[in-house]
Symmetry: C2
Subunit: 370 residues, 2 copies
């Protein structure tokens, strides 16, 4: 069991690194700053801030150390936790942050999660299906509405902007929403359950926050955020904002820069898993092993578990296998991970060599009987 | 010469990767989404969004490709640029973003830079000297003021919070500022030039922005930001905000997670160099080769050049060599990089085995005659 007052961080080191020594450097360097730290009359306060080395394990493939940090050294948010556990130390040499156990007071709860989204969308017994507007760039706002028209008669649950489509003159974000809203209304009314369009919210931090509120005020019913570009603290802000209150879809753009090197950075199960869930995402998009991006089965399994396995009373959130997803992959994903998935497809819906509505039907058919 | 309408991105690939093929994947995948992208009547718009491969070079140590992206695919800010050049592609396999040429319309100008800070602080002919409050954690707000008292009679230019000190009950951010303000006033008045205290601004994105404005309204005259934790878009927001308007110091916490692996992520010269300068930092802290963090001389030189070498009419900003900086290192740094540096020292001022004011004098003496 984890203490409610402690954050456990586990680091992996390659062969040749003295894990015990590094663990001491982290425990002191990431709290007091130096082992000589002193201040007259504050000895107890200083001791209370210091982290403790819990375990050091060495094997033939490298070594690992787990360190317990006082949660009181942080603000209880992801920003101060990341700074504490891997801020300056990330510069200190080959080391990878591979696990993080957070007390239930740390982070921002997702507003929907799996249970809330299923309730909102009225889909109880199959994976959700999400499309991505394609082409990613080059279309006007009106073109987006035309693409959506082609999906009016389907059972598609959500659609999202491509993550590389920001607020540009060719198709301004607010205009995309305004053009698509009447179509979204028609889809929702026809079948008596909401259809969601996750608008890509971008921009300088102050503008992004204003834009997100303005989009929701204008009827946006979901948002897409490039979390690694705009920061987990931005995801927490969107998830907590009562003026927003819509489901938030986290995109993995830039995650590879943090997670792809085996000996450095932060493990995918944290970058796209625990940290996303703790920062308030309702759906987290990630590569899948049979898709167009290279993604190890083990990474896939651990990201999906970090998002959807039990974690105290913290809401489970949807994993969203993405990038090169085709109907033929769906049964394999469901066999391994069950029905709590958001199947996310772009080219396989809008560039499938058949009408998009037929491609959507293929995806839904692939989910049946599993 | 660079076209004002193009962003040039250069990627490095390890041996065994087909750079020409990867370059095509990037040029299409990071713009249109797929090579088959089509939409009736929008052929010209689609063609205008596509990136072009400019150069592919292969050598024994690996290969490199440079790609020209239309600046119109972005919002002209760092968030949309990063998403475009390395967002999804960061997940695609071993590749490192090593260079980025940005037109002068992209980013947020630093409010001070080297010239503005020298004018503000009245220091024309030597590096600036910055101290870091130590111990990093464990002190009350009042303790901070007591530490500052010990420096009243010195020529120290700035002091900053440690980056791991967020807004916590032990020493709330606003209380630290309030406790230190009278001492800051006395230092500034005694010598007739401002003394700056860079307060660490943290928290969920919405709170961070509010807190930054509240701190400045309460008299904060500089801010510290963990840019890689809170995002370049947050740095741009702080730098652009007319209600803030104080110098902003960028801390490199978490930079190693992006930059330390040789074959992945993003080069230090971008992470701590060009992107920081383009996002509006006035001083950028970074490891130094003789300090306590391992940092290659080549990385040091390229980070410093990216911050302070000429880049059109974009203001040069201060490199701030940090972590284990001692007076003995100062002459070597100045010999290599001149006087436009902020020498940043924590333990060597507050844990030097002598009164902090004597340690400050040692640093200033080390700058003389060079």
């Amino acid at each position: 069991m984890t203490s409610p007052s402690v954050i456990l961080a586990t680091y992996r080191f390659p062969v040749g690194v003295d894990a015990a020594r590094q663990a001491e450097i982290i425990a002191v360097g990431q709290t007091l700053g130096s082992a000589d730290a002193h201040y007259p009359g504050r000895e107890a306060a200083l001791a209370a801030c210091r982290a403790e080395v819990c375990a050091v394990q060495t094997s033939t493939g490298g070594s690992q150390a787990t360190i317990a940090f006082p949660v009181g050294n942080t603000e209880g948010d992801i920003g101060s936790v990341l700074t504490m556990v891997f801020g300056k130390y990330s510069l200190a040499g080959p080391a990878r942050l591979v696990d993080l156990t957070l007390p239930p007071t740390v982070g921002t709860r997702p507003r929907y999660g799996i249970a809330g989204l299923r309730r909102l969308l009225g889909v109880r017994d199959r994976p959700l299906l999400m499309a991505i507007f394609k082409p990613a760039l080059g279309l006007s706002a009106a073109d987006h509405a035309v693409l959506l028209e082609g999906l009016v008669d389907t059972d598609l649950d959500l659609i999202k902007d491509d993550e590389i489509l920001p607020d540009i003159a060719q198709a301004p974000t607010m205009e995309r929403l305004r053009a698509c809203r009447p179509v979204i209304e028609r889809i929702s009314q026809r079948r008596g359950r909401p259809f969601l369009y996750a608008v890509n919210v971008t921009g300088r931090a102050d503008r992004l926050l204003e834009r997100a509120r303005a989009l929701v005020a204008a009827g946006a019913n979901a948002l897409l955020l490039n979390v690694l570009v705009y920061g987990y603290p931005m995801l927490e802000a969107l998830a907590a904002d009562p003026a927003i209150g819509v489901p938030i879809i986290a995109h993995p753009a830039l995650a590879g820069a943090l997670a792809l090197s085996p000996d450095h950075g932060i493990d995918y199960s944290l970058v796209l898993g625990r940290l996303m869930r703790r920062a308030g995402a309702d759906i987290v998009l990630h590569p899948a092993r049979f898709g167009s991006l290279p993604f190890a089965r083990d990474d896939e399994a651990r990201v999906i578990a970090a998002l959807s396995a039990a974690d105290g009373d913290w809401p489970a959130v949807f994993p969203g296998p993405s990038a090169g997803i085709k109907p033929a992959i769906v049964p394999a994903l469901m066999q391994d991970y069950g029905r709590d998935l958001v199947i996310n497809a772009g080219s396989a819906i809008f560039d499938a060599g058949k009408p998009p509505r037929a491609a959507v039907a293929d995806f839904l058919a692939a989910m049946e009987g599993l």
